[in-house]
Symmetry: C2
Subunit: 451 residues, 2 copies
């Protein structure tokens, strides 16, 4: 049973002296210790705790801290002490943390670790963050296919300390090429004398290459319900593995990115550690396109000054047209963006998808157009105005639905993140077309007839 | 290495006769076979393939099919055959699939399975879908703490066929109360004569109760980097387990839900299997609040008819004010909603968060107000209008930022999903306050001075 606030518990036990720092880890999980430290304001105390936890637990806690608190440690600790932490960490965490300090300091820290760790971490730091290479760790359990179960288990007993959690054994040939993936549960229940390669199923092992995009890695993980995936180079040689918990982070990160882009903000704005000024900076640029869109729409409206001065009641429908077409467009983009991100929409189903969106736009347009048209008629008392409002909303919504769906697809085709298209850009375009259709219709119909 | 389109490969090999249905599973993963079947239009062929795959593979494929294709099988197959599939499935998949057919048919199907499976599945079907109970499966590996490693392994060899994948052994006492969780890797490397409970670490095992909300389960999973989590009843008795792949599904589902709610649509709209009419139905209701918001904003504008007829240029700034305050409000809501969903924002950090949002709103408001004010001055050539535009945008944005953040929090406090607040409701409220501030200022300043 999960207590609500373990971090608070850690803090009160620490301050009351009920538990010493050195014995914290016996009672609490590293993640809870880290959550508690994140809440401490006193830098001296944070440093004291990290120093006294010991390198093993300390390095685990360091990876769980938030960036702001970790920065304190990375600044104040000596490069020797940080080297001790890095030595204990898994290679992917080490590479991520070293990427947070300046290049020179990272090099100084790496001078204090064993050559093997240094090489591993340096190699990992070269891969782009959002690829399989940037996610993987080099620690893994492999076994030649000709080993027997007993030999593989003996082998495990010697190496398991350094590996961290593992649930699979990666089977390799003499060139270190991956030939299969063997779950531990199969190893445990198989007879000691069985050959490892005789336990593999016939299928080719599921693996990704170092340059695979993290979103695709996540989709493969989910499709095949994997617990870890081997990462290979172009020739099929085993380089590392990615664990399910890294994938869970990717899923959250991709969702954050999609959502933030759709409202026009950098997902960096989500980090609670940024100052108000930095957060504003991550949100400001997109507002520019919103402003520009507003000015263009405004200019369009002023173009219809003559129509407006004849029938001022038209202004009352500017918010109606803008609101509803923006909403329909946002729905369409969000649907396409999520369907692309999760792999539900692929090239094979594209044509059908757009055709369906056209039908949906028509249905929504008819429904909303009817409602708004009747509403306008009742409110203003003009049948012509009701007709203009109703029909122009119907047409705008078909446009909004199609543009909302197509713009992200065009972005995808241009190899730009489609989520960008979900934001202010599509919204502004929908405002512009909606207002244009509305006023053009009004100008044509009202010029002759009047309200 | 992952080929791009395994499903296509399956289809062409099947139609060319390069592989027979019965041997498909030797060459392809169930997920790929299912993806291929999803693309077949010929119902007879779908039924033929599922029949010939055998119960073991067939039941796996059935769980991987999309809902539309699965519906064909659930309709056409006899309750006996479906019972055979259910018998082979893990209990959570069985319960999910039976929830897709009518209650009576589900009962008929359950008449064809063993009593043990029937009881398990029926119990699972009683838990709400979005709780730990609704996610868990009853198949798991447990061991009394007094067993030795050798006894536990012997035990495993007998039972592993029915359990599916497992990576942990749940350790229980004589009342079936959970006392610990032992990773397989620890079991493998420990001496045969060691007692299981001597291998456990001192900490209380991490577990959830059946009624824990799925979002919280996912957050616990991610915090502690778990691969599976035990589910217990109020007394701590072990009832089931949830696997990481179910959690990955939850993360996607929650992200989908958040995103769809934020654009004002039911996340059901994402399912590609719905007809255009159904999709429109899932998107329509929210548009109503958008329409209503538009009408209210429009009515507000008409209230300032006198001001407008004096200075018609004001209409040009309706889209500017609406667009920018809508955008800032959407950013603020999205930030709060994601931070709440992922557990980054909790009660302890709430006050600081809102204060920061106030500062961010002020910074964004000042920046955008200055830009828009200067833009308006240059465009229309009136200093007074520039001042009205600039200052009213500044004030509106502070309001929009605060309302965008506070409304989701109020929803959360009312125990309504905060993501709902990210959608058309907040947008409409921001439109209304933005327009009100703009026109009120304009009316006051312009009444005396004129443009």
């Amino acid at each position: 049973m999960q207590e609500k606030d373990k971090a608070q518990e850690v803090l009160s036990e620490l301050s009351s002296g009920a538990v010493s720092i050195a014995r914290l880890a016996e009672k609490y999980h590293q993640a809870d210790i880290a959550a508690a430290i994140n809440r401490i304001d006193d830098n001296e105390l944070i440093i004291k705790i990290l120093s006294e936890l010991g390198n093993d637990i300390g390095s685990e806690v360091l990876t769980h801290l938030n960036e702001e608190t970790r920065e304190i440690i990375l600044e104040k600790f000596s490069t020797e002490k940080l080297g001790d932490f890095i030595e204990e960490m898994s290679s992917d965490d080490a590479a991520d943390i070293l990427a947070e300090v300046e290049v020179e300091r990272a090099e100084d820290i790496l001078d204090n670790v064993s050559e093997e760790v240094e090489q591993d971490v340096q190699r990992l730091m070269e891969y782009p963050e959002d690829t399989a290479g940037g996610l993987m760790q080099t620690e893994l359990v492999s076994s030649p296919g000709h080993f027997t179960v007993a030999e593989a288990i003996d082998n495990l007993k010697g190496m398991t300390e350094e590996i961290g959690d593992f649930h699979n054994i990666f089977v390799i040939d003499k060139d270190r090429k991956l030939t299969g993936v063997l779950p531990l549960q199969k190893l445990i229940i198989s007879p000691n004398e069985a050959r490892i390669d005789s336990l593999l199923e016939g299928q080719k092992p599921i693996a990704v290459t170092v340059d695979t995009d993290q979103e695709e890695v996540a989709n493969i993980f989910m499709k095949y319900d994997l617990v870890s995936i081997p990462v290979v180079d172009g020739a099929g040689k085993l380089l590392g593995r990615i664990m399910f918990d890294d994938i869970a982070d990717v899923l959250e990160e991709e969702a954050d990115e999609d959502i933030m882009m759709m409202v026009g903000a950098d997902d960096e704005a989500l980090a609670s550690t940024h100052s108000a000024i930095d957060t504003a900076r991550y949100r400001f640029p997109w507002l520019g396109s919103s402003l520009l869109g507003g000015f263009i729409t405004g200019a369009l409206i002023l173009n219809f000054k003559a129509t407006l001065s004849e029938a001022l009641a038209l202004v009352a429908f500017i918010p109606v047209v803008m609101g509803i077409s923006g909403n329909v467009g946002a729905q369409s983009s969000a649907l396409v963006i999520r369907s692309l991100a999760t792999g539900r929409l692929d090239a094979a189903s594209l044509k059908g998808y757009i055709y369906k969106e056209l039908k949906v736009g028509f249905l929504l347009g008819s429904g909303c157009g009817l409602l708004a048209g009747v509403g306008a008629y009742i409110w203003i008392g003009s049948g012509v105005l009701g007709f203009v409002v109703g029909v122009s909303i119907m047409i705008s919504l078909v446009f909004a639905a199609i543009m909302g769906a197509v713009i992200p697809l065009v972005f995808k085709w241009l190899k730009v993140d489609p989520a960008i298209a979900g934001g202010p850009i599509t919204l502004a375009m929908n405002d512009i077309t909606g207002i244009l259709i509305f006023f053009a219709m009004a100008a044509i119909l009202l010029a002759g007839i009047g309200l």
